[in-house]
């Protein structure tokens, strides 16, 4: 979900998935189109007599989702896996959100901080987050910590960059107006800087959610913590046991959550930013 529009958060806000979803869900052609593709899927699998261990029918996938709900694979049922993934994701994301926002805002305000930290940041930024996975296992062991690290490293850059842009982008006129009225620095931060930065911050958070979610899945594939849990684990185990219906079922759940996060953030953004 890293994708789309620009990495400029203003443009991210422009192309809102929510509006697209709202309109699309309402339109009957959307459903028709989806039914069409599912039918194509079904027809191809059946007519070409594709081996069920290679590609299941849609029916089988749906059955599998239901089955996974009440039965165990690895550490538990579907709920267990969902919770495990969510736990990891939230851990890493919250850390990234906090660190990224603080650091980014600071770098935006303080030229020195910017000049000192930016080079290091630029260096690290171009390493695909998943490349850190083996190292993180070395540092944290095959554990929860290792996975959080990967998610953290992945969600940090967009959040930090957008916080930085936000801090930079505040019109000096606004700050001057507040100073003229006699506001203290903390008041300015709280009542001027923070609200002014919010649109950018949200943009960064949305991007961070997308990259973080992607990193979570990759981390569960590559840097398992041995607990045999998680949606990424389900994807992998499906392939290893030649049961692609599990894999596809897990992918669908992953996709649903990814979309839900994004839509959730957009709704939150609308609530908080009313101007």
């Amino acid at each position: 979900m890293l994708n789309g529009a620009t990495d400029n958060s203003a443009s991210v806000a422009r192309f809102t998935v929510w509006q697209g979803w709202k309109r699309a869900v309402g339109a009957s052609t959307t459903w028709l189109s989806l039914v069409f593709w599912v039918a194509v899927w079904f027809a191809v699998v059946v007519s070409l007599k594709i081996d069920q261990s290679l590609m299941p029918t849609p029916v089988k996938v749906v059955e599998q989702i239901a089955w996974l709900w009440s039965n165990q694979v690895g550490a538990g049922g579907l709920m267990v896996h969902i919770l495990a993934s969510l736990q990891r994701f939230i851990g890493g994301f919250v850390l990234a959100a906090f660190t990224g926002t603080m650091l980014g805002l600071w770098m935006g305000y303080s030229r020195r901080a910017d000049m000192a930290i930016n080079p290091v940041f630029e260096l690290i930024r171009y390493i695909p987050p998943i490349a850190w996975a083996p190292f993180s296992i070395l540092w944290f062991g095959a554990s929860y910590g290792a996975q959080i690290f990967v998610i953290f490293i992945s969600a940090l850059p967009p959040i930090l960059m957008n916080a930085h842009k936000a801090a930079r982008g505040i019109k000096p006129g606004l700050i001057n107006a507040a100073l003229m009225m006699g506001a203290s620095p903390t008041t300015i931060l709280r009542e001027v800087a923070l609200p002014a930065s919010l649109p950018f911050l949200f943009g960064g958070l949305r991007l961070g959610v997308a990259t973080g979610w992607m990193a979570l899945i990759a981390a569960e594939l590559v840097a398992s913590d041995g607990s045999r849990s998680g949606l990424g684990y389900l994807v992998l185990i499906g392939q290893q046991t030649l049961r692609p219906e599990t894999t596809i079922a897990a992918m669908i759940v992953i996709g649903l959550f990814g979309a839900a996060f994004d839509i959730g953030l957009q709704l939150l953004q609308r609530r908080i930013i009313r101007w």
């Binding site: 994708n3 459903w31 190292f135």
Partner: protein
């Protein structure tokens, strides 16, 4: 983040240099003094040595072999993604039928992270190259398509009116108005797609591969050679940076009329 005066530039450079030097000294000091085990943090000299070893031939190939292994997959998947994604995205913008047909499909597939496709690709294509090319394709196609679509949709109505007023045919309008207008957004999407492609390739190589930089990392991990792992991170970062910066330069050349930057 850039300043124009040379005094500013000097200041920036010196801060950067001090920062980097500081980090490097910490790295060196901490490992030289033995405060951190070389398993956790390979010392700079070991990493250098590892780079040297790789360049002379490691695990079936030298730097060039691993480089071309990784790059060939990325480029194949990426080119495929551009060839499929850009025309399809534009078609979706021009023809409502195409939009209604493919739109929902893309909206459904888009939130699924590319790495999630890796096991499926292994199942379908085996552990060879085509599976990785497929995953890279999936990673790159969506930004290309989406931004092609957006670029066309955001063509200002006024520009179209002007062209029609001047008497342009539909094909001329497409070639001389829609395409230049869409170019900035499209190029940004293609740049993001390339970044996605590279990151996904590394992920795929971590899962299964026999050559390439991701392979070096995971192999180094399995053979307890941290220095190899660390050494491989450098070319990965460098290539990622080079691709991004190269693309930005390309954008500047192709879109000289834009004053704002897109980053």
């Amino acid at each position: 983040m850039l300043s124009k005066t040379s005094k500013d530039k000097f200041e920036r450079l010196s801060y950067a240099a001090v920062s980097m030097a500081g980090l490097f000294f910490i790295w060196w000091g901490v490992t030289a003094l033995g405060w951190v085990s070389p398993f956790v943090l390979p010392p700079p000299w070991e990493v250098l040595d590892a780079l040297d070893r790789i360049s002379r031939g490691y695990m079936g190939g030298n730097l060039w072999v691993h480089f071309s292994a990784s790059m060939s997959v990325v480029l194949s998947g990426y080119v495929l993604a551009v060839i499929v994604g850009v025309p399809l995205g534009m078609a979706m913008a021009f023809l409502p039928v195409v939009n209604r047909l493919f739109g929902p499909l893309i909206m459904i597939l888009r939130p699924v992270p590319p790495p999630a496709w890796i096991p499926l690709a292994i199942l379908w294509f085996g552990i060879g190259l085509s599976g990785k090319v497929f995953v890279v394709f999936v990673a790159a196609v969506v930004p290309c398509l989406l931004n092609a679509y957006l670029g066309v949709m955001e063509t200002p109505r006024k520009m179209l009116d002007v062209a029609r007023m001047l008497g342009a045919s539909r094909w001329t309008v497409f070639r001389e108005v829609v395409v230049p207008s869409a170019l900035p957004i499209l190029l940004t999407g293609m740049r993001i797609a390339l970044g996605n492609a590279w990151a996904t390739l590394v992920a795929a190589e971590l899962v299964v591969s026999t050559a390439g930089f991701g392979f070096l990392i995971i192999n180094g991990y399995h053979t307890f050679e941290d220095s190899i792992m660390a050494a491989a991170m450098f070319p990965i970062a460098l290539i990622g940076a080079a691709m991004n910066i190269g693309f930005l330069i390309l954008e500047k050349r192709l879109v000289p009329w834009r004053r704002e930057t897109t980053e």
